[in-house]
């Protein structure tokens, strides 16, 4: 049985049908067509599928899609503005904070959730914000440095 739902995805209104019990990750990728969100474990463990729902980080693989009706969902597809990368995306490039890149969408959204709430986090706060996101390539340090670069910088005006 399919259920109609409406929500906002990166500021755009979306109306679609979801299978009963479908998770938000599969709905975004397979029904809506937003391939920027990645699936890693489908167990709520790895953080790869992190999106923002009404501004707070959530794991889309363990989020019931129909519970998102009326809410605002943000993914990495909505980060850049035209040709301009989001400051976090630029900092990840500058710091070589992505190697295979699979965890990067979740890392970016977890970092954005932190900086939206706390523009000047400490290093410990950055580590806590990213602690639910697993990276098997970088050793985390370049990612932490990239977020610290953006924290408190002029670039934050656009974040």
């Amino acid at each position: 049985m399919k259920t109609p739902i409406q929500f906002h995805l990166n500021g755009e209104a979306v109306a679609t049908f979801v299978e009963s019990g479908a998770n938000l990750l599969d709905t975004l990728r397979e029904t809506v067509g937003d391939l920027s969100v990645k699936g890693g474990c489908w167990q709520g463990t790895c953080g790869t599928c992190t999106v923002l729902i009404d501004g707070v980080p959530r794991l889309s693989c363990v989020t019931l899609a129909e519970a998102c009706a009326g809410k605002s969902v943000e993914t990495t597809a909505g980060l850049r503005r035209g040709a301009d990368l989001h400051p976090l995306q630029q900092a990840f490039m500058d710091r070589f904070a992505a190697q295979c890149g699979y965890c990067t969408p979740g890392m970016l959204m977890a970092a954005k959730a932190l900086l939206d709430r706390n523009p000047n986090p400490t290093r410990a706060e950055v580590i806590d914000a990213l602690c639910g996101n697993i990276c098997r390539c970088t050793g985390y340090e370049p990612i932490i440095q990239a977020v610290m670069d953006v924290a408190g910088s002029d670039n934050r005006r656009r974040a």
Partner: protein, 272 residues
């Protein structure tokens, strides 16, 4: 696999649906149920949800704390009056999990999950239920012993707020700052005239459900919190436990390290 989802405005209606439908599960934050659905667990046939605001209720007054079953770890971290529980809430996953994981859900988490439930056990919490036969209440210890047999809907938990510095928590994990429990220890350690009076200690990941360390509690009674005073408690620290082998640690390892971390907790060498 398709499941049926039923959403109710009133908790009582949700409770009635939960108790009357086979294969029905109550949906808290989704961190447990959605995993099961993603894995096509055939036991999950119907999901019962409720939008009743009572589930999100937090009350801290006159020494008593009441938490709605739908209160999230993030909501606890946002409540200054619950600062003594912040180390426990912060130990439950990363920020995205804390935004979803609920007090009620943690009561049903299988080992090695369930650190928050163990803390509630140390706090001598009771579980309140919504259902067709009206509100009922059970001590958490009793509830945890029968949680898999019932279809009652936990609506809230309640406990007496501990005096300052009486409650302690430590989680042992291989990954920092966030990792799954090798084990965790929660303790209320009231002191009168320099000696322990009425200690209450609970472990997580030392059995299928969180459990009390009753032998250690008895051994601490009337003793000072120093190396000599706690020695009898450490000797019986693992009594009554039944840890399991899993991907995080072996049962043998859990038993070996339990007295080490209990010692550190009791002596104040660790507090979070």
């Amino acid at each position: 696999m398709t499941v049926t989802i039923k959403t109710f405005d009133r908790l009582a209606d949700a409770a009635n649906a939960l108790s009357s439908e086979r294969g029905a599960h109550f949906f808290g934050g989704g961190t447990l149920i959605m995993r099961a659905i993603n894995e096509a667990d055939p036991s999950v046939q119907t999901i019962i949800r409720s939008t009743d605001p009572a589930l999100q209720h937090i009350s801290v007054s006159s020494g008593r704390v009441e938490l709605g079953a739908g209160v999230t770890m993030a909501a606890i971290l946002a409540e200054r009056e619950l600062a003594f529980l912040h180390p426990v809430a912060r130990a439950v996953g990363g920020p995205a999990v804390r935004e979803a994981a609920t007090v009620g859900g943690n009561l049903f988490a299988n080992s090695p999950y369930g650190d928050f439930a163990a803390a509630l056990l140390a706090l001598d919490a009771t579980a309140q239920f919504a259902g067709g036969f009206g509100q009922r209440e059970l001590p958490l210890e009793e509830f945890l012993g029968r949680r898999d047999r019932g279809t009652s809907l936990v609506s809230s938990v309640a406990f007496r707020r501990p005096p300052t510095d009486v409650f302690r928590f430590h989680k042992v994990t291989r990954v920092h700052p966030k990792g799954i429990s090798v084990l965790s220890i929660s303790a209320q350690l009231p002191v009168a005239s320099g000696r322990i009076a009425g200690a209450r200690i609970a472990y997580n990941a030392m059995g299928q459900t969180p459990l009390r360390a009753k032998a250690a509690e008895r051994a601490l009674e009337g003793r000072p919190l120093d190396a000599a005073g706690i020695a009898p408690a450490l000797a019986v620290a693992a009594d009554g436990t039944a840890p399991v082998d899993d991907a995080i640690a072996s049962a043998w390892w859990r038993r070996e390290i339990l007295p080490v971390y209990l010692r550190r907790l009791l002596l104040g060498a660790v507090h979070t």
